[in-house]
């Protein structure tokens, strides 16, 4: 854990109570979130407050991870959460869990933000040539103080991926690279880049299915 992150969390914890929903078992949390999202679709603002408490830390966290600037992450998180409210009626359970649906919106917003803030070529120059995959230690991913359960299962699941697959997910999901940029910066064929991303996700999914 970096000092910066540790300091921030200590400070925030002193003023902000942890969201109540985190005390519930995961399956109950998922049910509660899904029913709150459905209520949001009917204009229920109290349900939206519960939804906020249940997921704002993840929304803010992924935004912060991708845009790497607190003020910008706040802006992204706000836009994403308001969009969740606006289009709540569009959520359908067969598209995945309510949680995934909300986090997809947040992630897309964050990625849109970094892509519009920085020219792709700038980012490629900044990250591409210097990027070294961390073969054994995906430390950035366990660097959390919230959602221990998620962090732990992610840490375990990531060990089942190859270093190349972790690298592909890191560049795309956390750094906002397109699959073309991944291929370009790593000097690999586009098809290989696409396959690494998908295979990495499949391994994550399978790791959790075995865990259950």
């Amino acid at each position: 854990m970096t000092d910066e992150r540790a300091l921030r969390i200590v400070r925030d914890d002193s003023s902000a109570p942890q969201p109540v929903a985190s005390a519930l078992p995961p399956s109950d949390r998922a049910d509660a979130l899904a029913s709150d999202l459905l209520a949001c679709a009917m204009g229920d603002e109290e349900a939206f407050e519960r939804l906020y408490d249940a997921i704002s830390a993840s929304v803010f966290g992924i935004a912060l991870r991708v845009v790497r600037d607190r003020a910008m992450a706040e802006e992204v998180a706000q836009d994403a959460l308001v969009e969740v409210w606006r289009v709540a009626a569009r959520y359908r359970a067969d598209k995945g869990s309510a949680r995934s649906w909300i986090l997809t919106i947040a992630h897309r917003r964050a990625v849109d933000k970094v892509r519009s803030e920085q020219a792709h070529t700038d980012r490629l120059q900044a990250h591409g040539p210097h990027f070294e995959p961390k073969h054994q230690e995906p430390d950035h991913i366990v660097d959390v103080a919230y959602g221990q359960w998620e962090a732990e299962r992610v840490r375990v699941a990531l060990t089942t991926l190859t270093a190349r697959q972790r690298e592909a997910l890191d560049l795309t999901y956390f750094k906002g690279y397109t699959h073309r940029e991944v291929a370009e910066s790593l000097g690999i064929p586009l098809g290989t880049a696409k396959a690494r991303i998908r295979d990495g996700l499949i391994k994550l999914r399978d790791a959790w299915e075995e865990e259950r």
Binding site: R8, I9, D12, Q18, M42, Y52, S56, A57, S58, F60, G61, L64, R65, E74, Q78, V82, E83, W85, R86, A88, A89, K95, G96, S97, R99, S100, L103, T104, A106, H107, R109, I141, V142, V144, A145, Y146, G147, E150, A151, V154, L169, T172, Y173, F174, Y177, T178, H179, V182, A193, K194, A195, R196, I197, R198, D199, G200, L201, I202, R205, W208
Partner: protein
Amino acid sequence: MNPANDGEHSLLGPYVVGALDDLERAAFERHLTSCESCFDEVAELTDAAAALADAEAASPPLSLRASVMAEVARTAQTPPVRRTPPPVPVRTARRRWPLVVAAAASFVAVAGIGVAYGARDAGDNGSALARDIVMLSSAPDAHSMDLPLGSSHLVMSEHMDEVAIMGHGAPMPADGMEYQLWFVMADGTAVAGPTFMPDKSGDIMALSDADCAKIAAFEVTEEPHGGSQSPTGEMIASIEL
């Protein structure tokens, strides 16, 4: 998997992690409406990607909650599809493509003020709305029809179960009123759609989920600000299917 779809199918992983550009994403989402195996895999892998986000959770500043709630309080929502309003018989309509138009009511063309539905907070949400409308318009089964409200048209897609209206030159409704779109079902009931207002230059833009397969006609009325559960105002424009 259909071999003809291999190209699009291969975009699945990048789609889930947000690594497609806008055009590729639109193409893949079109593919998803017709490829069940991709649809199911996307749902599963999206859960996996979401856990990566959860593992990054960090407490947001306290001020975020208040500003989000304030924004939510003044943000119009895309209306739910299956809310059933009190039945209001309007008419039975034939179901036939494409047919257009009736009755543009008397209008005074005035430059207006106001904003499009779903874009009251301007900026990012406005462009998100525009993007969603582009997505809908590029659906494989998207139908476009004239809407006699200024120079406007309506686009619907059964694949996406969405309806959008867009155009320009729409006159301003009377003071305290806004336009509302209605989905008239085969049994004559009118289901409440979004409310919308022309912007300063008379442009309109609105998007809604809709149970497209069951819609027999669209109507636009003027309703008191905030919209109504069933039509109360004079019909201004309609489209029969």
